[in-house]
Symmetry: C2
Subunit: 306 residues, 2 copies
């Protein structure tokens, strides 16, 4: 089943010719989530041929311009294109007032149902769930209230091994019990364990987005062992002091966190406009966490079990 991340923008606050501000599409089992929506995101979505109307959920990590200023344009375009399905937007408490004021001044009454959900500060919380996956928000450490998001696959119901059903002549009732994880003891004393009759389940995968944040130890509680981690690395080591002052991280600090969390792969992103030689980011990260890669706009990263 699909589980992948497409980077639309991985630059920091001032857009450059090279990078757009923050935005990415997370595809979990063919459900599309937009995470952050900096200026120009709708153009990036179009450029990379992602179907705009398939997005059902938008998560805004915080209200610095490079993470939300593309939202109103996107909402407006969905409206002008005649969307008729629900859209759910999650963000800080002030987001609704921002959306409402923009709609009011342009005298726009959206043709689709828009639900704006307020993220809860300071705690981890499940915000989306369906049969096969769930999304949780969790606090980051930044100048203003900021959230990260983690996408996790859920345990799937046991899929019966057909040859065992036949060999053991399992009854529908026995199948139901085995699928729910129960062991069975037959009248003749035969024991059947559910593990022996289910297809081995593929490992559950997870992806976490952490931008923007200073070094933030509580991540070890929120997202230990995720398979793929996008972690901001606004700066290189020589701007370490500046990173601390502005509640951002260096590539080395992102790598240290990836190591501590024992993740599968680290994507470095949210690069300051001051740098030209981007290889420096991986050069500083890899000695600490070898499986570190640079975010590249337009590139899709598969979430692979460790």
């Amino acid at each position: 089943m699909n589980f992948e991340v497409t980077i639309l923008g991985c630059g920091a606050a001032t857009p450059t010719g090279r990078y757009n501000p923050s935005a990415q599409i997370v595809n979990v089992h063919d459900k599309l989530f937009l995470v952050d929506c900096g200026e120009g995101t709708q153009m990036q979505i179009r450029k990379y041929k992602i179907r705009l109307q398939r997005i059902q959920h938008i998560f805004i990590s915080h209200l610095h311009g490079d993470h939300y200023l593309g939202l109103m344009g996107l909402l407006s375009t969905l409206h002008l294109l005649g969307r008729n399905t629900e859209l759910h937007v999650y963000g800080p408490s002030e987001l609704k007032a921002l959306i409402d004021l923009n709609l009011k001044v342009s005298q726009t009454w959206l043709v689709y149902p828009l639900h704006v959900h307020v993220l809860t500060p300071e705690v981890m919380e499940q915000i989306v769930e369906d049969k096969t996956m769930e999304v949780h928000s969790f606090p980051l450490k930044h100048r203003i209230a900021t959230w990260g998001f983690v996408f996790k696959e859920k345990e799937r119901p046991c899929k019966m091994r057909q040859e065992m059903v036949e060999r053991l002549r399992l009854s529908p009732e026995e199948i139901t019990r085995l699928k729910s994880g129960e062991s069975i003891t037959r009248e003749d004393g035969q024991e059947i364990a559910p593990e022996s009759t289910c297809e081995p389940a593929p490992p559950l995968r997870s992806y976490a987005y952490c931008s923007d944040t200073a070094v933030w130890e509580p991540l070890t509680e929120y997202i230990p062992g995720v398979d793929l981690l996008y972690h901001e690395s606004t700066f290189l080591n020589r701007e370490k002091t500046r990173a601390a002052e502005t509640f951002h991280c260096t590539a080395e600090q992102a790598a240290e966190m990836a190591k501590k969390l024992n993740v599968g792969q680290l994507i470095l992103g949210h690069f300051s406009a001051r740098y030209d030689d981007m290889d420096k980011f991986t050069e500083e990260a890899r000695p600490i966490f070898p499986n570190s890669v640079l975010a590249e706009e337009g590139k899709t990263y598969a979430v692979v079990a460790k």
Copy 2:
């Protein structure tokens, strides 16, 4: 002296791969004015290597997203780049509340003085003036309050013809009087007219921006005879009914207005995303007003006296 217009965006409400939303730079005597600021304008400014910090005035025609959603990103970038000179923004009355709310939620205190000026509805009004030029706003006819802008060169003080100063042995006092337009009668009865002693003044040029608007007869009072006119032509003739319903114009209607106003050249812009064959716009406009051209992003149009 420089007087030219660089188009940054000439698409309509939904951005396409081809066109960006409305924005243009008007350079009058090396003063830069930004007219409208749709999403992505700051990236366009960077792409076309216009020096961001040289912009001192921004005019927002109205509060439909494709005309203002790039403003906050631009204001924020000027801030992050450490601007320290004044910036003047002119727009509808609700613009200040929008700017204030965005600055509040991001907890941003701009490092430069920002002055937000409210445009006056329903009348023509001078909004900027210096020694050599002036800008006026005037009402357009759209779904919400919308303004156009006209940039005009001012009459320049007489520049004395050096050979006349010498031949007539003009005294400093006589020069001052001639420069101010007075005629002189000398004691010997000799009459000197100012026209004979001043260099011939170049014709005064003017440029008007009209987007968005339905067909709007009062333009004949506001901007008769401008040398260059940017007039919206969102639609082609076959969408004439749609144009009227949405308070927009067709290319033909823009050309009819250009003819009625007796302008020098017409730039057609604000194209709906539905069209691919853009030559159709000039094909429909030129039979009515031959000197009609298509707006092209990145292209600079000189304002030339008729």
